[in-house]
Structure formats: structure tokens, C-alpha cells
Point group: C2
Chain length 229, copies 2
Amino acid sequence: VTYCLSIITESGLVIAADSRTNAGVDYVSTYQKLFDFSRPQERVIVLCTSGNLSVTQGVLNLINQDLRYEDRVNLHNLPTLYDVAKYIGMKLREVQDEHRAYLQRDGIDHQCTLLLIYSQGNFIQATEETPFLQIGETKYGKPILDRIVNFQTSVEAATKCALLSIDSTMKSNISVGPPINLIAYYRDSFEIKHRLQLTRGDAYLVKVRHLWEKAIREAFDSMPSIDWS
Amino acid sequence: VTYCLSIITESGLVIAADSRTNAGVDYVSTYQKLFDFSRPQERVIVLCTSGNLSVTQGVLNLINQDLRYEDRVNLHNLPTLYDVAKYIGMKLREVQDEHRAYLQRDGIDHQCTLLLIYSQGNFIQATEETPFLQIGETKYGKPILDRIVNFQTSVEAATKCALLSIDSTMKSNISVGPPINLIAYYRDSFEIKHRLQLTRGDAYLVKVRHLWEKAIREAFDSMPSIDWS
């Protein structure tokens, strides 16, 4: 299982992803799920993937192939993000069409989602009202986003919230796991400002996890008990 | 969608359930999901239901029919909780067998779960290591349980935690909703000690929700920001 999320606010964008992939609980490994196709100073494009690994890798391969030829339509010459999303959706359909019949025959899930291009190749964008998108194992980490994030949230706070959202998910579902990849982008800067990989024992990750546990427990203890009468 | 949960600790048991039922988003209504089949001083049996409403109601009907006849095996004469769970599992299979073919033909989900008897009629119990069980929309409310509850938790704290778990779920999924039904049982007492229904505007519910939001936000603000370097 995967958990990737992105938070967009008036000042920028945060993208975060875990790195665990499993084919059944007896085959768990680490794969990057966050891919940077940016052209610094000109455009920033980051893809997050979730779902069937052979399909997502197939899509990335097709995208990379097109990038080798300047005369092909590719991620570096498409004029708008809308076109970019449509292009990736088409690549996704192409790979799935190639394998669907064979995967379905053996009952293997061919679904795959990119942030946020659906498995069917259509797509949506985040908005001011709901300034985050999630793919993969989304539910455990949603309550903290629902409570904290809005369009006015700073990039720093959004990063912290993305990390706590992933941490909650890792605690409740062991098939989501580190390293956690994080990217921060400031509006209209056209380059990725910060990029970080937090491994399992990372000092900041350990510290925040510990402090958060403690804070939640203290908050819980401070709540009034129910009056049954 | 439903969310019911139960927490068992060394001192007792808490059961909590929401009351929202929907057949599509355009037909949302309120149904009790928590049913008391206790015989005070002798045995306490509470059922929580989730899933296809016609199936769960069918099961409850069969159970009630058997209770009308003393010479029938029923919830009031079965000797152990293991037998009770097996009996309910059988009733569940009986109702599903009757309707499965017709529901499947029209693509209607016939699954239904009781706390915790699976839709297939088999069942599990909570243990000291994992002292809670959930059915229905379980994921949003699991992180708080994972962080707070253990077998030594008091009944009062378990009640508070069950309520916060349901509240998180209601915030993230509108198809889970009040009134919330709560039951508290103290070990070896053989009668339900407390029973409460919290409606939408209930003063305690509103207060706890507000305080919890505030506490989470303060906890969040107190977390150290990430150091990108």
C-alpha cells in the first residue's frame, strides 16, 4: 500500500510520500513513489504514484521515452498543467490497455492512481475549499488534515501536517512505511525549494512522533469525562 | 455507512455506535445499530450491526423469534459467549443464504457484520493486546484508539476515547452521524451500568468536540518545524 498526499496553499505546495510497496504481506520492499520531472526556472512537475507497480513503472517509462525526443509531445513542452494531466492520463490508459486482459484473467488488480489522475485516466485538481489531495491508504491520515489545513496555512505548517498525516497512517497500517519523501515548493518560484528524505531513524521524525504522541495523550487526558446522568 | 466500536479493558467494556444509514447519498436516514439482548443480573449481550440493513434486520428478527420460545436455543439460554457468537453467525448465514442470489443478481452488496461476527458467519474476540474491535467505517477513528487505548485504560477513559474516535469519523465521512449510542459495562457486574444517547446538539458532545479541535490545533502548533537543511 502507498500513501501520498499533497497540500496546496496560497503560498505554495507540499508533496509527501511513503516508500513501501508490497505484493502480499510476505513480499514487502522499498520503492520511490515521488518523481520529479521539473525543468528548474521554467516548470515544476512532480508525480506521485500509487497502485500496481508494473503499471506505474510503465507510465514513467513512456513519459521518459517521450522526453528523449524534443519533437515529441512531452512533459517539458506541454503548455499547461491541464495538458500535462491529460497527457499522463493518456499514457496511463495506454499501459493499462496493454496489460488489462492478462491481469484481469488472473485476478490481479491493474488499478493505479497518480496524484491526482484516476486509474481511468481522468483527473481532478485541489481547490481553495479542499486544499489537499491524497492517494493510496488515505483514511487514517485524513482527520488531521481536516482539522488543521486550509488555504491560508503556511508551507512550513503544511509540511508538518503532511508528516503527521503520514505518521498516523504508518502507525495504523504497517504496509505504509519510510523513508518519507518530502518536497516543498513556493508559489511562482518555478523550482523546488526543499527536498528531503526522512529514513526510519531520522532524528526529526523520531522527535516529532514522540512529541505528538505525548501531546495527543495530554490533550486526551484534559478532555472532560462523560456525565452519564 | 456505519461506525461501531467496542473497547474491552480489565475493568469493563464500552460499546459505541453511530446511527446513520444510507442507500446512496440521496437516501440518508437514522437507524439504531446497537441492540441490547441482556438479562440483567444474569447475562449482558449487546449487538452492533453494520452493512446491508435488510440482512441485519433479518438476523435480529430471527434472534427475537427464538427468544419467544423457551424450548428453543436462544440468546437467553446459550451457555457461553462462544456459543452466542456461533449462534448469531448461523442466523447471519441463514438470512444471507435466503437473499444472496437475488441481491447478487442486481449487484447489491449483501455483506453485513456484527461486532465482531464476520459477514461469512465466523467471528473473533478482542484480546488484551488489541483491546478494541471496530466495524463499518473503521479507518478514520483508528489512529486515536491506537495511540490511547490499552487493556489498563479505565472505563471512563475508554468511553471518552470511543467518543473521540466516532467524532473523528463523523468529521471525515458525512455518512456516519449522530445520535451516538453509548453503553458502559463493568466487569462481572452482569448488568449495563450506563447507557446514553448523544444527539447532534448534545452539550457534552459539542463541548468535547470544540475542546478537542482546540487541543489538537495547539498540539500541532507546538510541534517543531522541519529543518530542511
